[in-house]
Symmetry: C2
Subunit: 462 residues, 2 copies
Amino acid sequence: MNQHSFPLDAIFKPEAIAVIGASDNPGKLGSHVMRSLTEGKYPGRIFPVNPGKGEILGIKTYPSLLHIPDGVDLSIIVLPAEQVPKTIRECNEKGVKGIVLITAGFKEIEDRRGESLQKEITELANRFGIKIIGPNTFGIVNLHLPLNASFTPEFSKVQKGGIGFVSQSGGMSHLFGFLSMKNQVGLSKIVGLGNRCNVDFWDMIEYLHQDRDTKVIAMYLEGLDQPRRLIEAAKRENSGKPVVAYKVGRSSTGDKASQFHTGSLAGKHEIYEAAFKQAGILTVNSSEELLDTAKGLALFCFPEGNRVAVLSGQAGPAMAACDVCEAGGLSISPFSSETQKRVDALIPPLAIRTNPVDMGPAWYNSEAIRGIVESVLEDRGMDAVLLCIMFASANRSAVGTLANSLLQIERKKPILCCISAPEGIWDEDIRRLERAGIPNYPTPERAAQTLVNLVRYKKLKR
Amino acid sequence: MNQHSFPLDAIFKPEAIAVIGASDNPGKLGSHVMRSLTEGKYPGRIFPVNPGKGEILGIKTYPSLLHIPDGVDLSIIVLPAEQVPKTIRECNEKGVKGIVLITAGFKEIEDRRGESLQKEITELANRFGIKIIGPNTFGIVNLHLPLNASFTPEFSKVQKGGIGFVSQSGGMSHLFGFLSMKNQVGLSKIVGLGNRCNVDFWDMIEYLHQDRDTKVIAMYLEGLDQPRRLIEAAKRENSGKPVVAYKVGRSSTGDKASQFHTGSLAGKHEIYEAAFKQAGILTVNSSEELLDTAKGLALFCFPEGNRVAVLSGQAGPAMAACDVCEAGGLSISPFSSETQKRVDALIPPLAIRTNPVDMGPAWYNSEAIRGIVESVLEDRGMDAVLLCIMFASANRSAVGTLANSLLQIERKKPILCCISAPEGIWDEDIRRLERAGIPNYPTPERAAQTLVNLVRYKKLKR
């Protein structure tokens, strides 16, 4: 068996996995887990465990964990709750160091037995030195291995990338995964912490800080028993990886629901806000903002200040962006007189040429657009550029040409875009820009809010 | 020629159109307009006008408007600005009653001649009784005729539906069109008012109030010269059609940009907010919220009060929805004791069963889910239902079954959904629900905000 540098490697980088409760009955979660592993093209060894089966999905199946002839790093457990303590003992006997415990019916249920069962398995796992993700989780996904150790085979379709997502909710993990698919944002890990028996947010923060595949840590939280530990972990880690958090439960009902859901009260929102700030964790207010902001943070190109140049192919989207920028404390300040002169020389006086610039009259003149962007990037008074271009048939070639230009220019300031067109028109150009670190957003307001958040992050880190 | 009941019918329901400045050169807007008409399958007669061409796109072309042998209802003009006054005189001579004036270079440019030219054409049009959309517009689209009288042929791909969109910005019209394509929301009209020479927001409000194809009026505004007229028009019309407005220019730079863009100062945001409220116009804060809310208003099924039941397949999304609901003044109030008894009898005590309900344990039991939804809809203490279900492989059949149930139940309360899955899994079920008046949103937060806005609208109208 592999010598692991970090205890959680047994879960995220296992060389051999046992699926305890594997099944080929589509009505059982054990069958979905088997499909996740095989359809997700997990490159290691898979050992299904089921006393009633000789093979599952064509893979030799064992009557128990202890019958497996080789070593096992990770057990994925999908058995009824009452069988879990015995299984953890077997895991210990077998030398298993990581468990993904999908089974529900622990601390989260009304019946007191759930809580005592969770206490029992936590003590066992701690005594044996076994790390458990869960219980009451959909599982985990490591898109870089690849390993889909979850009951949702479709997670394997998420694009591989730099955002590590850690969540207290399976539902929000699925939503985040689907949003990332639709927005073509790449993720490194998707982690459902469930009831957090002995792997909690702080453990994941430590682990993801050293994980080379993860550039940004995005978290969805409801409530924590020991918020201080999260804050301490975030403060201790100095990898420079941004951490962004979406915390729900600010409403009274949300708070109550949190207690039911994962056994923790959500707690006063203001306390979390202040603590996150102290720990350098950026906060956001919705699932889409979490994805947008994580995508922006993954650039690692932060604005030095709050002065933004808004360059737009049309005036309306620029105004919408300006409203969000100013509400978020950004300044749409005037260009230097030299920059203004250069811009004035490049476009005729048919639309607004001061910041925000309406580049409409330059649609057919790619050299002018390139010149405007270059001038503004060179303006020392500008910290970032927001670029909005709406497709309009006559400007079909604009984005391709602009992409060619932008990819040649040396960029030291972030450029965020809202380039929008019907499907199939600018998709490839947008992908080219994104690959080069120029992210695109579906609306001017969302691009602007992301820039606001990048400036907030920079300030937080000062 | 058709006897029009409303002057604007000449523009939105013409039987014959002249394209003055038609072209087959893809570098000219006149060629895009020709493609919009032909590719958009306009069913009436098209007369291209261009003195240098015998035919364009295989359609006989005339040297001037006056050479056209038949009557013309609408002229789409794509000539240089200085030729426009003469062309309007010819339109009058020909009996044309509507003009879409795409040409820019009027009030919006720095050069004073632009303003005087706009004054001249406005006086001519008013004297002749000709209605002009524009100048400085991309055009108009009537998806029900169909008529795409714009320079963007791709607008023809927007789905036909009940939302009439009126905009001061071409860029925002394109964005709104693309967002509606991506979200599969149907529009009735897309109207770019441009510099509003003699057709302004109030004219469009009057026109769309009597338009049978339009159920909801959605507006994007920057600044108005006579806001009072808009308010008066909105108050006067009693068709019961909801009007929702997204007004930008609240930032100081936005205000300045507005003046440049369409010649009107954006003006103090608070004044607009108060005036809109008085006129029964619902306000929103982003382009996506405008689309989401218009889609919700198109249901014509408004909550009687602010009490919402949140039913979710997973707890996390429910909590995110609750936060938005409570922040927007909605109440996640307890069910009646009878409803609670029915819910308790339907799902085991493995997750939260009070409002918000985590229906997770009922995933495999479609009768239970149907029972829960029915009980809650019958609860007199509940005014609306928010339904969240994230796909998770094991619950693949849940939405199909739920849709079958919901379509059978008599519904008198709005049901808004966030049902989310990777592409291709639940698309058809979601479409079935939407066709039956149960709209779906991409995130729990956006579904919740739409419900907040429906309650705000209902209050506004009281």
